[in-house]
């Protein structure tokens, strides 16, 4: 069984009582064939690290090697590995977060390549 639900109500009503906006219940269920979703490329919008906010999405490309999935942040040449795409994304998120924090600490000792990586990271990630 595959299920597609659409849409959320297109207009989001302000909710004055709780100071938030809310979108409610989908009005329509559509049953249709969905594509096998192993994308070639996605845009990563979070690093699962409360200290860091992705300001501009990070382009990630997927490949497989045998039973392993590999997620590559193409602009900074960093990789995440796992038994499936979800694990590879989580590994890549950890890797990028650690890289950002390490490069931030080691500013005085960065070579030319790592300075380039740091420049890209600064454009894409903000420290909170």
């Amino acid at each position: 069984m595959v299920t597609e639900i659409k849409p959320f109500p297109p207009t989001i009503q302000p909710d004055n009582e709780v100071g938030a906006y809310s979108a409610g219940i989908p009005k329509e269920y559509v049953y249709s064939e969905l594509a096998l979703a192993i994308p070639e490329e996605v845009l990563l919008g979070s690093l699962r690290d409360g200290r860091l906010k992705v300001h501009s999405p990070i382009k990630v490309r997927f490949t497989t090697e045998g039973k392993h999935s590999i997620a590559e942040a193409v602009e900074i040449n960093e990789f995440g590995f796992g038994g499936n795409i979800s694990e590879a994304i989580a590994d890549l998120q950890r890797t990028i977060a650690e890289l950002y924090l390490t490069l931030e600490e080691e500013q005085k000792h960065l070579g030319k390549d790592l300075k380039g990586v740091w420049t890209v990271l600064q454009k894409k990630i903000h420290k909170l």
Binding site: M1, V2, T3, E4, I5, K6, P7, F8, P9, P10, T11, I12, D15, E17, V18, G19, A20, Y21, S22, A23, G24, I25, P26, Y29, L34, A35, L36, A37, I38, V42, L43, L44, G45, S46, R48, K53, V54, H55, S56, P57, G83, N84, I85, S86, E87, I89
Partner: protein
Amino acid sequence: MAQKKSHLSNVVPVLVAALVCDIAVADPSTNKKNLIGIFDRINVGRFPTERQMSLYVKVTDTEGDYDTEVRYLQVSSGKVLAKAEGKLHSENRLASIELIVPFPPLLIPEEGRYEFQVWANSMFLGATFIDALPRPKPRED
């Protein structure tokens, strides 16, 4: 030649919460959300099976228009088993937006992990998961 300008926002939202539950409803008088039976694992007597689930999502740091998508997928295969789509609009980055997505019975084909992924304007914001486990056999004492 003038370039066609996308109306979709480039601001990357922050996923504050994503929770799977049995029932998610909004109080009609206050619009406060009530989540009943939050869980992250289910015990299944026999695979394949189906299970009704609702997803609660809260995002913030949003500004402008977003095409939003929630994908329910089997992690081991990457196969999308269901998805929900919708549009969001926000004019205040400091406000938060809550979504309730009451899925119809969702397929659980076999033991393993199933993920609800939250996407906005083709950006992956994060995910939550449930683990489907075989129901333990009763002890024969």
